[in-house]
């Protein structure tokens, strides 16, 4: 069984949190307070062709103090891990709250949460920080060498690994220690596009970011996939350019996760719906007055939120406000039925409890309402296969892998590309296409969802770098889905879009 990293346990956790509670208790007008101590380890390895380009590790550590003083938030954070540093931060947080109090129109109130005293660890088989860098670099250089042997002109491999340790203590009595590990291996091969631009075109491996350890990297099958990727790329470069128009699309989980992320998961964040992100990340068309009535998509659409999915990138024991992890419905039978919440949002929404979506990417940032794992549930009645989805298509496109993505600030208009696109002709795959981009409007797109694959085809994908908030924060998040069939979606030719 995994243990909490001794390097984190050696920090003066109790001394600092006791000092914080003591300072908070002496601060006038405090209605609520908490302190989060973080120590993260983030290692990045980048190899290209036969060279190690960079191997670096960072260990951010510090703490953030959050207070509600006279109904006003105050937040201060510091890397000065001393009792004096904590006292200064408590004073600075109180000063922030008081300075900004005159601008406040509505007092901060938090939905209730029981106090928790627990330790939670995300289990992994091989912690990547226990693997010698030499072994990891050698493994990665072997994969790039195999790409080159298979004919690639260019090959690179990034691997980002992270371990988060947190200790959360609140004035309500919570004391929570947590640890989780994640990594994202990205192998990419390139060939000269002799049929198009004359420049290098790339193909990425099918590996995903996961809340798992180094065992995932070694088991993925990079040695075999390296050569396969070059073959996919050769076929893609020689394939016909897509003719724009409406197509039936079968979208693989490796592509659909990102469309789900942008058009559904961001669209159902309550802080966006209430305008908290209007100046930056944006709002959403899925406003709270429509809960229970807004038709988000076809009746086949069942979307859940959770912080429990095994190996999920947003999976935790408790969120950064000390709320225990949960699972809930967001869209059921195509209708909006739930939101992602933190304690403040839950109170504003007249709910008794938050569903645990507070997250801060650093000791230096205030926790915001961030995305849990948001997943499209598979067909509950039938274990529909990918081939069965193809069989219902006369003329369409099968899309795998994510590439370019963009969506508007209210989560309506989006455009996505992918890694590979196969023509579907009379229910069968008929070779690759290139230059495909699909563009749609969220409720139209999900309204055209005709079929979802079964539980056997369900996969968890995700990202390390979901952005939101001012100052900007990034969050890791997973999205599960099975392949799905969408009817008559507008497909563009990306190359023609760029013609002068």
């Amino acid at each position: 069984m995994t243990e909490i990293d001794p390097g984190f346990q050696r920090l003066p956790l109790e001394r600092l949190t006791d000092a914080a509670l003591d300072s908070i208790s002496k601060t006038e007008g405090v209605g609520y307070g908490d302190i989060r101590i973080h120590r993260d380890r983030i290692q990045g390895i980048h190899v290209r062709e036969h060279d190690l380009i960079s191997l670096s590790e960072s260990e951010p550590q510090g703490f953030g103090v959050r207070l509600v003083v006279d109904g006003s938030w105050g937040f201060a954070a510091s890397s000065d891990m001393t009792v004096e540093g904590v006292a200064r931060a408590v004073a600075a947080a109180a000063e922030m709250a008081r300075l900004l109090r005159p601008l406040l129109e509505e007092r901060v109130e938090l939905a209730a949460e029981p106090a928790h005293q627990e330790t939670w660890i995300g289990e992994v088989e091989i912690n990547p920080f226990d693997v010698p860098a030499e072994r990891k670099v050698e493994f990665m250089l072997d994969a790039t060498a195999r790409c080159l042997t298979a004919g690639a002109k260019f090959a690179e491999f990034y691997c980002l690994q992270a371990q988060e340790n947190r200790y959360f203590v609140s004035t309500e009595g919570s004391r929570i220690t947590q640890q989780r590990v994640r990594l994202h291996p990205v192998l990419q091969a390139g060939l000269v596009d002799e049929h198009g631009s004359g420049l290098i075109e790339t193909m990425r491996s099918t590996a995903r970011p996961v809340g798992r350890g180094w065992e995932y990297v070694e088991a993925h099958g990079f040695p075999a996939e390296a050569a396969e990727m070059v073959g996919w790329l050769e076929e893609k470069l020689a394939s016909p350019s897509v003719t724009p128009g409406p197509y039936d699309l079968v979208i693989d989980p490796s592509n659909l996760w990102l469309t789900l992320h942008e058009s559904v998961a961001h669209g159902t964040e309550l802080d966006r719906a209430l305008g908290y992100e209007a100046n930056y990340a944006g709002t959403t068309f899925a406003t709270p007055d429509q809960i229970g009535t807004l038709r988000y998509g076809s009746p086949r659409m069942h979307v859940t939120g959770d912080r429990l999915e095994p190996s999920g990138l947003a999976t935790v024991g408790f969120d950064d406000e000390g709320v225990a992890a949960q699972r809930w419905d967001i869209i059921k039978d195509g209708i909006l039925v739930g939101y992602q919440l933190n304690r403040q949002m839950a109170h504003k929404f007249h709910l008794p409890r938050s569903n645990g979506c507070a997250y801060s990417d650093s000791w230096s940032h205030l926790p915001l309402q961030r995305m849990p794992n948001v997943s499209l549930q598979p067909d509950p009645d039938r274990d529909t296969t990918l081939e069965e989805l193809f069989s219902g298509v006369e003329e369409g496109i099968y899309i795998l892998g994510d590439k370019s993505w963009s969506i508007d600030q209210q989560r309506y208009n989006f455009q996505f590309t992918g890694q590979r696109f196969y023509r579907i002709h009379k229910g069968q795959l008929a070779g690759q296409l290139r230059d495909v981009a699909y563009q749609s409007r969220t409720p139209d797109f999900w309204g055209r969802l005709e079929a979802v694959g079964g539980p056997s085809a369900w996969q968890l994908h995700g990202a390390f770098n979901c952005g939101k908030g001012e100052p900007g924060q990034v969050a890791p998040v997973s999205h599960g889905c099975a392949p799905a069939l969408f009817r008559r979606i507008s497909v563009l030719n990306a190359r023609q879009e760029g013609k002068e």
Binding site: S54, S364, S406, N413, E470, A494, R495
Partner: protein, 452 residues
């Protein structure tokens, strides 16, 4: 610990390059005419590069005391021992080869403190009050940051750099959220920004949207405001590296080599950077904790002179670290942390007045690569698209998705206005940018966005 102590301790513990950094920031957010969240952050951190016979190990982290500095230095050394030789290995610079140390901001290192907010708080409160009284909703973000850096190497280089920046952005919406406008500004200090002036500009723009005009996708003449221009030119700059051009991976790759010397843009277009621009002061020496096409850990301390990337529409320079320059016969050209597009004396109002028919676009959003070969990007207009007819703004227009390349945009630029410090909508004040409003022909709006 003082930064110079951190640097000396790291070097004593076996690091070859040590970059100490102290940073502070304060910020607050607004939504629906009230303050929402806020924060004050202070950090002291160090980044260390260990070298073992051309092998590199990099370790960084926040520090409180010398024991922590020693621990991080040991990690950097251990990592170097586990690494193969770096392809960019070169001798570290000596003091005579490095930038000369200078203090850009006289006096003690600047700090962003809660009280730094005070000069604008009354004004922001007035703005919120005006918004409430007008039946509108105001949203926004204000922040101030200060960073001090100290660089030391085992070859005797000792340099100090400082950076201070502040920004303020406001979004104003009607109560029914059917109309929305945005404006942002950046400066060295929050006290130099004027929330009242920003709000007055927004009120004027919101009044332009009282009449709404629905327009279809298609090609339009557009006037891009400085923020919109900034988001396109910064993406162009991110591609300006010699390695990508040499390897055939970017829009700067030509048939017979990098497109330096080629007239890629309209003759009026010039892009430049200067770390000593008084409005955009940034450290004038290389600080690099991870080698890439933009820089090399072996170049730490290298002087960063002013750059002219594009002159008269001709590409002049590409970013090139020393080792790549040595191996591929290019001039050395360090990256610079600011960017300016040269402008004229023509104001935006004058450009509007001389317009027959065009779209005025305030800001761009969610910009992503579509095709690296042409640097084709996709993105959206946001919080301010207006129709100009016969010299006047006649109404607000729906938003669009665009598919465009900054190279094509700057080739089809037919008029350039007055350059000003501009706040990028997507990257905020992470990079100082000066940009003008520009008039572009045949800007391709690929589809309509319903977003407001």
């Amino acid at each position: 610990m003082k930064l110079e102590e951190i640097v000396e301790e790291g070097l004593r513990e076996g690091a070859a390059v040590v970059l100490g950094e102290r940073s502070t920031s304060v910020s607050f957010r607004l939504a629906n005419n009230t303050v929402t969240t806020n924060g004050r952050e202070e950090s002291t951190s160090v980044g260390m590069v260990a070298l073992e016979q051309g092998r590199v190990g990099v370790q960084s982290g926040d520090v409180t005391d010398s024991a922590r500095v020693a621990e991080l230095a040991r990690s950097a050394r251990a990592r170097a021992e586990q690494s193969p030789e770096a392809p960019d290995a070169m001798a570290l610079l000596t003091p005579s080869e490095s930038a000369s140390s200078y203090s850009q901001i006289p006096g003690p290192a600047p700090e962003a403190l809660p009280r730094d907010l005070e000069p604008i708080l009354d004004s922001v409160r007035d703005v919120l009050e005006q918004s409430r009284e007008a039946g509108l909703r105001c949203f926004g973000f204000a922040s101030a940051d200060a960073v001090q850096e100290e660089l030391g190497t085992t070859t005797g280089v000792r340099l100090e750099g400082r950076r201070q920046s502040a920004s303020l952005a406001l979004t104003l919406k009607t109560q029914d959220l059917r109309r929305s406008v945005w404006a942002g500004a950046t400066a060295r200090r929050l006290a130099d920004l004027d929330p009242g002036a920003l709000y007055r500009g927004l009120s004027r723009r919101l009044s332009w949207t009282e009449k709404s005009v629905a327009l279809p996708a298609g090609h339009y003449q557009v006037l891009l405001e400085p923020s919109a221009t900034s988001d396109l030119i910064v993406r162009l700059m991110w591609e300006m590296h010699a390695r990508g051009a040499d390897e055939g991976r970017t829009v700067f790759s030509g048939k017979s080599g990098p497109r330096v010397g080629e007239a890629m843009y309209a003759p009026e277009v010039s892009l430049e950077s200067d770390p000593l621009d008084p409005q955009m002061l940034v450290p004038n020496f290389v600080r690099c904790l991870g080698s890439s096409e933009y820089g090399s850990v072996f170049d730490n301390g290298l002087p960063v002179p002013a750059a002219v990337w594009v002159e008269g529409g001709v590409q002049q320079e590409l970013i090139c670290p020393r080792s790549w320059a040595r191996d591929h016969g290019h001039p050395v050209r360090p990256d610079v942390d600011n960017l300016a597009m040269r402008g004229t004396d023509t104001s935006l109002d004058q450009m509007i007045a001389s317009t027959d028919r065009a779209l005025l676009v305030t800001s761009l959003w969610y910009i992503r690569d579509l095709d690296p070969a042409t640097l084709l990007l996709t993105g959206l207009t946001r919080d301010g698209v207006f129709l100009i007819e016969h010299g006047e703004v006649v109404g607000g227009v729906n938003n669009f998705r665009f598919n465009e390349s900054p190279v094509g945009v700057l080739k089809r630029t037919v008029e350039i206005g007055k350059t000003e410090l501009a706040l990028s909508r997507e990257i905020g004040d992470a990079v100082f940018i000066k940009a003008p409003p520009i008039r572009v022909e045949n800007f391709f709006m690929s589809s309509v966005s319903d977003a407001i």
